[in-house]
């Protein structure tokens, strides 16, 4: 009975914390501060003879309604709320860009291997496809084994930006080493006379927008990290070890 009550208290605190986290207005340190306040209140009420459930309910009420708390915190954390709301959209855009670049890298790599070895391009495609499948399934397997840590880490803005830059550099380097099939557009009656200049301009726009997207994402990521930073006194920490 006692264990059941303890378990219930933990899950209730967890639920209360998850509601606060979902609201976007509170930083990690804000939530830790409030959680410790709640725990102090519970301890205090329990020492007065109240049960865990009663203590939790009273402590929660004393701290206040989550909407009221979020409203008050929003006035102080207005910069954080914006960053917190923007990050999922930026992550989505970065994942999309990464997918495009990886598919390009796959096709360039296939061409590179087919030109530099005697293996048929279809076999190379199959090998790369199997490799991609194994990677995806191993990520899913390790993720289910160790919680959601791996996917969360892979979806971090800094990891995504590093993957995009690395994949782009490899793709461009490989493209320089392979002979790409060229189409003479004058033969198919293309009305655009300066086609290559136009393609070059589009390439610049693509690089520029990618650069803006990645820089913005990194700025937001570091600001988000700075807001959530908890600098514990080192001396206190050391003395406890």
């Amino acid at each position: 009975m006692e264990n059941r009550a303890e378990f219930s208290l933990k899950s209730n605190i967890q639920n209360w914390k998850s509601i606060l986290t979902k609201k976007n207005n509170l930083t990690k340190s804000n939530i830790i501060e409030l959680e410790n306040h709640l725990l102090d209140l519970i301890d205090d009420l329990e020492s007065k003879g109240l049960s865990k459930e009663e203590s939790f309910l009273i402590a929660k009420k004393r701290i206040g309604k989550t909407d009221d708390i979020c409203l008050e915190f929003d006035k102080v954390n207005n910069g954080f709320s914006f960053v917190n709301k923007a990050i999922p959209y930026l992550k989505g855009a970065l994942i999309c860009v990464l997918f495009i670049i990886l598919s390009k890298l796959f096709s360039v790599k296939s061409l590179f291997f087919s030109q530099n070895s005697n293996i048929n391009i279809t076999i190379i495609f199959v090998i790369l496809f199997v490799f991609a499948l194994i990677s995806i399934f191993s990520i899913i397997y390790f993720n289910s084994k160790y919680g959601k840590q791996i996917i969360n880490k892979l979806c971090n803005v800094n990891v995504l930006v590093t993957l995009i830059i690395t994949s782009s550099v490899i793709t461009y380097r490989l493209r320089g080493q392979i002979v790409l099939p060229r189409i003479d557009i004058t033969q198919i009656g293309n009305p655009i006379t300066n086609y290559f200049a136009m393609e070059f301009n589009f390439e610049i726009y693509k690089i520029l927008s990618g650069f803006i997207l990645m820089t913005t994402s990194l700025i937001f990521f570091w600001r988000h990290k700075k807001y959530n930073k908890i600098s514990t006194s080192y001396d206190d920490y050391k003395s406890r070890l």
């Binding site: 009221d68 708390i69 008050e72």
Partner: protein, 124 residues
Amino acid sequence: MYVCVLNDYQMGKLSKELIGASTTSIILSILTKNKSYGYEIIQNIKEISGGEIEFGEGTLYPVLHKLEKKGLIQSSWKIAESGRKRKYYRISSEGGKELKIEKQNWNTMNQIITKIWKIEPSLV
């Protein structure tokens, strides 16, 4: 507004507006004595005010963070005996100056009100 304040006064409770106006002075005064964390600050306020001042305890933290942004208080995380991370607040030199001004303002206000009530005792 006045009716509301008078009703609260008659019921023996301080109005939200009055508590809101005095929060900065109260917090700075408490932190002058010692560095403290949120829960302890609230317990101190309750004890000193004899339970007269009561507000949503979660809303104290945004007030503390506002004061920290203004540079009136400073904070640092420490690990307590219980193993819990606690954010301790202490008054800064700017906060000390602000508290002096606040004290002067409250004294002036007190003098004005006392003067009015002495002249017009019917208001008391």
